[in-house]
Symmetry: C2
Subunit: 334 residues, 2 copies
């Protein structure tokens, strides 16, 4: 059996079995956006790692080295936002081809330092190794007294999002087909410089019932949240379309794509979805949480302006290929 998204979730389960161990202070192990540790006193620790691999997650022709390091750091930081954690510190583990000169190295350092400064978690160590392909690992520690999980959404809660949906996927698609029209610039910027939603995560961390960051696509990640919480999530198409706005609509039109498809399937914006009983500043309400009447119920529903309901698509391969589809968090719940 070869590696594919389907088998990877199986691999996560096999790792969970292989690594099964009760260690003192492990609150959440393999099974959420990040590991959650209790040091015994003070806030809980939230711990995550992400890896950006050349020719898997990016092509060096598509972005600057500053961008590569910036987005690598942000991908890891987004997991902390999804747990409602305050970022603390980071380690960088970089595999760098011999062909990279000092200017290239400095560009990586600059991009990572900028992301670290924006997120507020300085890089305090790491590892440098040589390799045939560029690969940037970022591991982050955050702290929280009230961790957000995927399993707390309750019927009656509002479903809200902070950050763009589908814009980065549109930018990636533009890069893949080599289309750089002016109306695609916001999309290109969204893919090259995604921003983890740290402030919104902290705000939601104090009150929200559940959260997840959108790294695999709204449809798929909402399904994870719905399944973990045992609820059904209803997304209003009109709200989703309005949230996408002109940048998504015009860019999608330019490439002959559907804005709604991008909004449902695009993941690398690292938007933050939370559920809570009332609106929150910085978040757009997309829909609401309702009871799941039977296990056969679809977990995520799209509702049209006329009230018609249909299951939300959870895949993306039907309309665009993206390298990110080959990467999975060990901590993801299938």
């Amino acid at each position: 059996m070869k590696l594919d998204p389907g088998s990877e979730f199986g691999r996560i389960e096999r790792l969970r079995a292989a690594f099964a161990a009760d260690a003192p202070g492990v609150v959440v192990g393999i099974g959420d956006d990040a590991a959650l540790l209790d040091p015994g006193a003070g806030p809980l620790l939230v711990w995550t790692v992400d890896e950006q691999v050349q020719n898997t997650h990016f092509d060096l022709g598509w972005l600057t080295l500053d961008d590569v390091a910036y987005r690598g750091y942000m991908a890891a930081a987004s997991d902390l936002a999804a747990m409602g954690a305050s970022p603390w510190t980071a380690l960088a583990s970089w595999v760098i081809p011999s062909s990279f000169d000092e200017a290239a190295f400095d560009a990586l350092a600059r991009g990572a330092a900028q992301a670290a400064a924006e997120v507020g978690a300085p890089i305090v160590g790491g590892n440098l190794a040589k390799g045939e392909r560029l690969s940037l690992g970022t591991t982050l520690l955050g702290r929280t007294t009230r961790p957000l999980r995927r399993d707390g959404a309750k019927a009656g809660d509002l479903l809200m999002v902070a950050g763009p949906l589908g814009l980065a996927a549109l930018g990636l698609r533009a890069l893949q087909v080599g289309e750089f029209a002016k109306e695609l610039e916001p999309a290109l910027a969204a893919w090259r410089r995604p921003r983890a939603r740290m402030g919104e995560g902290k705000l939601a961390g104090a009150v929200a019932s559940a959260a997840i960051d959108i790294s695999d696509g709204l449809g798929q990640d909402l399904a994870h949240l719905a399944q973990a919480s045992g609820v059904q999530l209803v997304v209003e198409e009109a709200a989703l379309r309005a949230h996408g706005g002109e940048d998504l609509a015009r860019g999608a039109q330019r490439l002959g794509l559907e804005a709604m498809d991008l909004a449902l399937a695009g993941g690398e914006d690292y938007a933050l979805v939370v559920t809570h009983g009332a609106g929150l500043p910085g978040f757009t309400v997309l829909g609401h949480v309702r009871e799941c009447r039977s296990v056969e119920d679809p977990s995520v529903i799209l509702r049209s302006p006329t009230g018609q309901e249909r299951p939300a698509p959870t895949g993306f391969d039907h309309f665009y290929q993206r390298p990110r589809s080959t990467a999975r968090k060990v901590s993801s719940t299938p």
Copy 2:
């Protein structure tokens, strides 16, 4: 300027400048074997990351996939031992070629799980990504109330080691030249299955004045410790030779190498060197610490049985090539 050991230390300094930031609770950042964090209550956290990269640190023809994952974990764990920390938990960030089937994946999981069980720090999460070359990142958290540093060695202390010196380097050399005679078996095992000195690190952590793990070679790593502490380290040749024992002597002879060269330059045994006023169980005394009379003094001295002294070699490239020479801790002090 291309990547080489010389330029890499320069890179570490440049990272230190690029990442310079005072974060609350950062006791040690870039500049030792691992980062040291103060959560505000309870023990300090010791945090490290290591990366093992195919064709840089290992050749897939030289060891099983179990071994690759085992030694990757141990390389990271050794940094905790060097800080005298108790291992707590780990994250695994794996880049895996598409050609790897499920049996290959399970072998990696098995090797990592075995190392984690031996070290006592379970893997509680991580990241799986696809890539062209196998690359295994391990990040570990440990805890300690009395961290060992490189800068605490005092004149009059004994210089002691736990674990083999040069045996893994001999094993790597045997693999490089394709020589598998019976007298090389201990060396092959030492390279394929190094053991981080967790127990010895914890023991020393309670009392020792300084420590370092030997990842780049005894001569080079002792120089780091001597320079950080502002002392001179005297190594007795006879003690070093006796410590190497028959396994090193016979294996070296088989390959036409000098046991002493291997003991001074070999790093991947992950032996633990500490300084302390008295002997410690599990450690072999190699020499002692004395005052550094002037800045021109060599930092590490080899003393012959007749009392003749000479500076210890700090390099290794003169007698054998090893892929590890291309990797450096960001946290290493030059």
